[in-house]
Symmetry: C2
Subunit: 339 residues, 2 copies
Amino acid sequence: MKQKPCIAVVLADWERKEFLPSQERAALEEVSGKLVEAFPTDFADGAAFGDWLAKTGAEILVSCWMAPKLPEDLAERAPGLRYVCHLAGSVKGIVSEDHLKAGLLVTNWGNAIARTVAECGLMLAIAALRRVSHWTVQMHFHGGWKERTNTGTGSLFERRVGLHGFGAISRELAQLLRPFNVEVSTYSPSVPDQLLAEYKVRRAGTLEELFAENDVIIELAALTPKNRGIVTEELLRSIPEGGVFVNIGRGAVVDEAALARVARDGHIQVALDVYGTEPLPEDAEFRGMTNVLLLPHLAGPTVDRRRDATRFGIENIRRYLRDEELESLITAEVYQRST
Amino acid sequence: MKQKPCIAVVLADWERKEFLPSQERAALEEVSGKLVEAFPTDFADGAAFGDWLAKTGAEILVSCWMAPKLPEDLAERAPGLRYVCHLAGSVKGIVSEDHLKAGLLVTNWGNAIARTVAECGLMLAIAALRRVSHWTVQMHFHGGWKERTNTGTGSLFERRVGLHGFGAISRELAQLLRPFNVEVSTYSPSVPDQLLAEYKVRRAGTLEELFAENDVIIELAALTPKNRGIVTEELLRSIPEGGVFVNIGRGAVVDEAALARVARDGHIQVALDVYGTEPLPEDAEFRGMTNVLLLPHLAGPTVDRRRDATRFGIENIRRYLRDEELESLITAEVYQRST
């Protein structure tokens, strides 16, 4: 076990409230020899940030969305800094590929947020089947009420659910779906059979099969170059009548113009949390199409569960102190691949 | 086992599609000696309906929402009719208390629809925590997008959930909630300890405790005279800041004017499927309050799961044929109590 290091925490005021409530702060103090804090706005530039880190003697930096970019000459300026424990997802705003190549350890929130994204996906699937977007607009703005035969509602029970991609979020979702007695399939060529067996998920042979043979499609494929625009108009039109398309993964995996055309025809319900361009442009076609439930990319960690990312980070700091391998380590290769 | 009886099916065209898809029709034919069918609109009045039943020799009538009222002199007019297997909830539109007193057997959909109501409750709880109503309106009509600090989202994971009432829907909900690692309490004085232990649900000592000590309240209390308006302003104001109130039970259990005041203050999120007056009046205060998610009473059986009610009914017909006790038998006492 290493000696407890000096840990520098550079979080905005609101990030402290959300990521470091009292319990998590206490846990962080427990693994720190000394805890020093600054606000991102304390630093005029990366050089000033680096000098402050050197002055504090920090070995670990805990950062989040608002942190300034580390200086390119970090190794000379603050040679004591060994590990950036980033509490959010993308690290591109704070470290460069060269930092990683120079041996700086960097981790992010890894899979700590997967269950909240999965939860949002479950909710959106049920909400789309119930036409919540349509009814919200009808009830609030048109004095609406149902008639005997116009609810058009469906249930998730006994349905066939297709997950495009089988990463951490899909695995969490498979667990949330279990009480609904659904048949879950996935299209994810690289995932091993054993993992699918463990989660009782069937493998779809092709993406075409996944879309045509499920009532509810939940889009969770990674945005690799190969996956960009892979969800075509043909695939979307093959979803059975009354089916549902939910995207909680990456917007650019979908041909959005095609999705807008298919949604306009009204044969399927759609729920989107992510878009090819974010923020979603004000004149985006989806706006006003009330069979499309729209959220502004908030499936990821809800405010109350941001502490899960901190807990994950503190576990990584413990691993660092025990000289163990870190989880969700950002290598130069991961860095290049990330969006 | 009795001889297979003549079964009369009196359903509207759309009811046949929803309650009698091919699989359920085949199952019904299997328990019938003879199956005769008519549309509710075939009968000018109850007398004509009774005469037709007598002519067909029906021993069992399968009815639903659109069925006409049976004539008061049913016992003389169609003495062969022994059992009304009603596929929907309320039977007041088709039989009178005197029919029950005269020995007519009547059942309804019982708990067959409980899981779809529970599913809607789960969705509404997550949707309210995510402010889906607010974001739907923002995204569709105001070109909206989130800012860093304004999503105001919460998750169901690790929360304290309070169920007011512990009937069939609450029991289904307890199962759907299990993967979320929540602490579930209930206020339901008459429910035995053993049942709560079976579902791992804690008993709240008072209604005050239920509301003040849970983040998510799901209203499912029966509308008894004692429960009318039992959810007061004081109770609603005791829900912790950022909490959620979901009503999928009965609107009149809640003081709705108080709920509108509390919702307007914005400290809690609200999701409603039921109202004291239905259809919800066009000028109802809730309309336009976008932190209140509004649905037009559609938690109950979704179109695709109406067949569950038919399956339940056919099971009851099988019991009838074996001279066994029927499930969800409507006695004169149940009839008086029902809303």
